[in-house]
Amino acid sequence: MANESVLVIGGGVAGVSSALKLAEDGFQVYLVERGPIIGGQAALFCCKATEKCSQCSVCLVPEKILEVAANPQISVVVNSEVVGISGGIGDFKVDLLQKPGFVDPEKCIACGICTELCPSEPQKGIYLPFPETAPRTYIIDKNQCLRFKGAECNVCQDNCPAGAIDFEQKPKELEVSAVIVATGFEVFDAREKGLLGYGRYSNVLTGLDLERIFATGDSVTLPSSGKCPRNIAFIQCVGSRDEYIGNGYCSQVCCKYAMRFAKLLQYQSPEAKVTIFYIDIQTAGKGFGEFYKECKETIRFVRGIPVEVCELSPNELEVKYEDLTKGKIAKESYDLVVLSVGIAPRKDSWDLARVLGINLGDYGFFDTQDTLDSNRTNVNGIFLAGTCQGPRDIPESIAHGIQAASKVIQTLTARAI
């Protein structure tokens, strides 16, 4: 399979898994990422282990990123988007619009001197977004960089020992035999559910916020007071199983992460009370039934999704929900409310769909050709991987990424004969 090349669009966990498998098989892989670094959403998530591993699989991500960084077969193209494609399987021509990234991954040795010297204060204009990035490259933050504020600043460029910073970078064209689309998902924007108060009340967070908080520190405190939360409510299915907002599907991850976080919060402060409001608890998956049973011992499960969250005082939130046992509206107060936001298709999927000529299916996820093949699209040679095709958790995204790689290899093998 040597000297054939494959384009993987999207540097999330699915795309990375595809890329690694393809590279292992001798393909030259272009891993194109719109953002400045690969790893995708999961790279910003946190470990949810207590004494025991809760098997959220987040820890697989940094490891895979390092593998990509170390793999000569994979060239990572960041800050880039696919704007055009021509030809067909075996010889696609792909136009990349490469937003200037300014820092050349090939040259940057991630020494950190640029950050040190960057005059932009307090927020630096160039930095390493988080450990284990790949490419292991510092990025320029246009909102902070003085140069982008009109100043004649060249400090980083002048002082970079590797000469990696270059404010003019050129677009690219790639020639590849096949394409894997792994553009991932968007976290549902909880603001669309205005009544739940996200964005208005400081102590209403989303699952994503918790991920970030635990990823950067190792404990959560109330945004309002800095105190440790004592009485926490999780609200499930925010943006999932909801035809009114056009997401008539189960996101498949929220029940699991909510219960893991609930356990983690209680591990952090054992006296914390946790309530989970739900429609149906999804417990399929190896060993998860047992985990649910464990949770039921320390966590209160309430059937029914609250309609409204109000702020009584900066440190007190009131959750209004229908008490199904009594059949009337009930009010309970909490100091922290976590919205279990689900997986939504990327709003810009349609643009890529147009560029590549592939179909969108239910709810705006990419569609497949054959009901029994979740990778093949209507365009021969273009395959799907991960959450851009439908909701998946991390292990499933990895598996699906590998499956896509397998389909590519099989298809190209068949052509070779």
């Binding site: 591993c53 991500v61 450990p131 284990e132 190792d218």
Partner: protein, 141 residues
């Protein structure tokens, strides 16, 4: 050389390369500091850490020993972290027999992406060992 008076414990931390060692790196990358008197020794799995390694560390003058492995059920070798835990317990008793406080050796579990947790563990353990004072077998102690 050590500043007189202020007691800086010598702490040996055996770190599983699959998890703890990477979390130590992460702590550094995130510029989260922890006591510099902790000597990290990289091992392929917490299951590689032998009762003997720990005892010898004390012979060489360690004031405390840390064994850091993967979270339970996250061991690549299924039982490595559990074995390590049991060995740490055995060392506890072996040290007690000798008359050294068993609390000088401890086991913790982490994930590779838990830099902050690594730093916290390092700090806590450092404080605990300071409380206990220099190891009684240490020359000059």
């Amino acid at each position: 050389m050590k500043a007189k008076g202020a007691f800086l414990p010598d702490i040996v931390a055996f770190c599983c390369a699959q998890s703890a060692y990477q979390s130590a790196d992460a702590a550094g990358s995130m510029r989260i500091t922890y006591p510099e008197n902790i000597r990290v020794i990289r091992v392929p799995c917490a299951g590689r850490v032998d009762v003997l390694h720990i005892l010898r560390a004390f012979e060489k003058g360690a004031d405390g020993v840390l064994v850091l492995g993967c979270h339970e059920e996250a061991c690549r070798h299924l039982s490595g972290n559990i074995r390590a835990k049991n060995r740490v317990q055995r060392v506890n008793t072996l040290l007690q027999e000798v008359g050294i406080d068993g609390k000088r050796v401890e086991m913790f579990t982490l994930a590779p992406n838990q830099g902050p947790r690594f730093a916290r563990i390092a700090n806590e353990v450092n404080e605990r060992i300071k409380e206990l004072g220099p190891s009684p077998v240490k020359s000059g102690a």
